[in-house]
Amino acid sequence: MRKFKEKLSERIFFALALSSISVLALITLFIFIKGVPLIAEVGAFKFIFGMSWAPGRGEFGIFPMIIGSVSVTLGAAVLGIPVGICCSIFMAEFAPVWMRNIFRPAIQLLAGIPSVVYGFWGLLFVVPAIRNYLGGPGLSILAGSVILAIMILPTIISISEVSLLALPRHYKEGALALGMTHWQTIRSVQLPAAKSGIVAAVILGIGRAIGETMAVIMVLGNSVAVPQSVLDPVRTLTTNIGIEMGYASGGHQQALFATGIVLFVIIMALNVSAQYITRRKIK
Amino acid sequence: MTTSSDKIAIKDFNFYFNEKQVIHNLNLGIPPNKIFAVIGPANSGITTLLRSLNRLCDLSHEARQEGEILLDGRNIRAPDVSVTELRRRVGIVFDVPTPLPMSIFDNVAYGPRLNRKTRGKNKSALSGIAEEALRQAALWDEVKDRLNAPAMSLSGGQQQRLCLARVLALKPEVILLDRPCSGLDPISTAKIEDSLIELKNRFTIVISPHNIQQAGRVSDRIAFMLMGRLIEEGANADVFSNPKDQRTSDYITGRFG
């Protein structure tokens, strides 16, 4: 009976694990089945590097959107990562307890707010501010980057903070005992020791930024063109799907799935490299 | 070195972690109803030896072993031996107190509740077992009014006696103690030592003392190990007053270790 239960419990856990991950295969399979025929028809090179997206005329080129995704994500990373790491240092080291008790739930709340609300807030405040002070239409790469930077903050802050707090106390005490200032200790002992966690946080944050759809739909302007400056409107891979999926059919719908394939491949490449980096760190 | 009357007989025992050999060709007999102390400096393979006796070393994937360990004449690694049954017969107390994050009572009742024979028993039978175990571990008087308090609320010494009681509740035959008093104050240490001396009539006790004085105080027989090898084994008085090996006398007189 005990033996049986033992075997059974392991089998059940294994079955659950197996079915959880089989959805990855399922997702890959179905999105590729739906999208690959169109890529084959248009030609992979023309699809990825084509400059013209005109579903009505059967022209499917997504290069401007790839540029859009990359530029908005880069912008979000440039704005969000330093701020996020700063905040995690603040929470793990500098903040007094009462401040921490406000900050932590606040960051939790920030993580839970629907992305559409961020997008809407950006539309009402960030977009007009950019239009009035920096020029251009306001709906722009910059607006999207600002919104995404705010949205990836909770991910970066919470994971970095955890990895800072998880360090053994004697690291810090040892350094302080050598007469270092608090900041010297953070810079030369704690940040390097927590590096792998912080890198993981950054990669996860970037992944979130590339994948975000609804918030950026509202603030990017969504025009299909290669942007000339950060004040130009762009369309990303995700927003392309989000905007047109509602009414697309036939080849057009297939093209959106093909866009999904490109997004999927980019994300998977990012995942694999992230896993490779963290695994090497462990060894 | 082993005789048929031994409770545990270790024969030609070798133990490896990956490529590193931590126990070399050990032959040792542990007699029943005695306190058997295994002494030696750090990295002598003593913890590994104790954990081999109830196959806790199996949990490590890097471990590999050769030779035999016989409990009542039967190899504990024989295919038909149930490892859970073995661990109930050979209990262990670790070098740091390891209460589970539940109440004092639940900690003591944890083992009996796993056991088929006692699982069906009702609450009052379980409390009987728990009380007896706590009394044997000299903890009953201190906790009887707060059995439902979290075990973590006890002091370190009380926690360690709770861990001893938890093992006793299973009514084992052998009790292994791996430096059980290493982090404890002298009073708690004395209480544990007193309980051990009282318990030895009913159990076979193998202890790795945290210092030589403790070995002298509690043990009937002593084995001295160094770098994974058995150097000397004998009755308490013989080893202390008349060590056969120079290294033993160096260790006992505090020249190293």
Binding site: K5, I27, F90, Q275 | L59, H61, T84, F94, L100, L114
Partner: protein
């Protein structure tokens, strides 16, 4: 002993000495900088929340909560959107929970570093990175079209279940792994089998972390828009069963706000969403604190 010579200065060009800023001064500057960044972030957060609540709270009344939307949402309340959110989230969490927690236990307790486990871990981590819109595409083609479930609570819930699976797996695995190894050793040393040890010694200590992960994923489901709009649809009617289409609050907000149907009702919906998220967080935190108090 000879006195050792001090090492040569790195910068000693013709007697020029770089002005060194005292570490204590650097400390002050850095502290000021970090404080101001943190306060700025807090200010942005508060401005978002306060703005939505300021605009939204006046809209909320009993009718807003209990009435069906009328005229595309221009009038009436949002009761069907509330129901849609609750239903879709419930389906997602109840389906994802057993799979996610089971997978986490398998990964944390049973893995042996062989190929199968490497594949499972790789897939679980990859799932975590997939954008929600891709989940939406998959849910649309698989649940809505291929399994012919149509735009429905069930399609939406199943899609969200897959989306939150990695969150549950990751947080649960983390919680299980952070249970001290001594608990496992104690469990085994008292003669427990693996299953008994997991259930009796490991799981109770991991519960709070697991619950936290589940609640996090509830929050994610409530807030998700892209994946839901493609799989649950955006019907305004009250969902009658699991197979009827539904509109969640996040989708409702999006449609109201972007199509300019009714700003007031959009603000009201957003305010309720934020209050709901706030409430979920409070539940999560009290749950955690209670388990912490109980465990120690």
């Amino acid at each position: 002993m000879k006195p050792t010579k001090p090492p040569p200065r790195r910068f000693n060009f013709r007697g020029f000495k770089p002005r060194e800023i005292k570490p204590q001064t650097v400390e002050k500057i850095v502290k000021g900088f970090v404080w101001s960044v943190a306060l700025m972030v807090i200010a942005v957060l508060i401005s978002i929340v306060v703005f939505i609540l300021y605009k939204g709270l006046p809209v909320i009344n009993w009718g807003f909560l209990t009435e069906i939307p009328r005229k595309m949402g221009r009038e009436g309340g949002i009761s069907s959107a509330i129901a849609g959110t609750l239903l879709v989230t419930a389906v997602a969490v109840f389906i994802a929970m057993p799979f996610g927690i089971g997978t986490a236990f398998y990964l944390a307790e049973y893995t042996r570093g062989n190929t199968v486990t490497r594949v499972i871990r790789f897939s679980a981590e990859s799932l975590a990175g997939i954008p929600s819109i891709v989940y939406g595409l998959f849910g649309f083609i698989f649940f809505v079209m291929y399994l012919n479930l149509g735009w429905s609570v069930l399609s939406g819930g199943l899609t969200l279940a897959i989306m939150i699976l990695p969150t549950i797996i990751r947080t649960s695995e983390e919680a299980i792994r952070s249970v001290p190894n001594t608990y496992r050793e104690v469990g085994f040393s008292l003669g427990g089998t693996k299953w008994q040890t997991i259930r009796g010694a490991v799981a109770p200590s991991a519960v709070r972390g697991i619950a936290n992960g589940v609640i996090l994923s509830v929050g994610r489901s409530v807030a998700e828009t892209a994946a839901v709009v493609l799989t649950a649809g955006s019907a305004l009617r009250m969902p009658a069963s699991l197979s009827s289409p539904a509109r969640t609050m996040a989708v409702h907000f999006y449609i109201l706000a972007t199509e300019g149907i009714s700003m007031e009702n959009a603000y009201g919906t957003a305010a309720i969403l934020i209050i709901l998220i706030f409430f979920i967080n409070i539940v999560a935190n009290t749950l955690i604190n209670r388990f912490v108090a109980k465990g120690r």
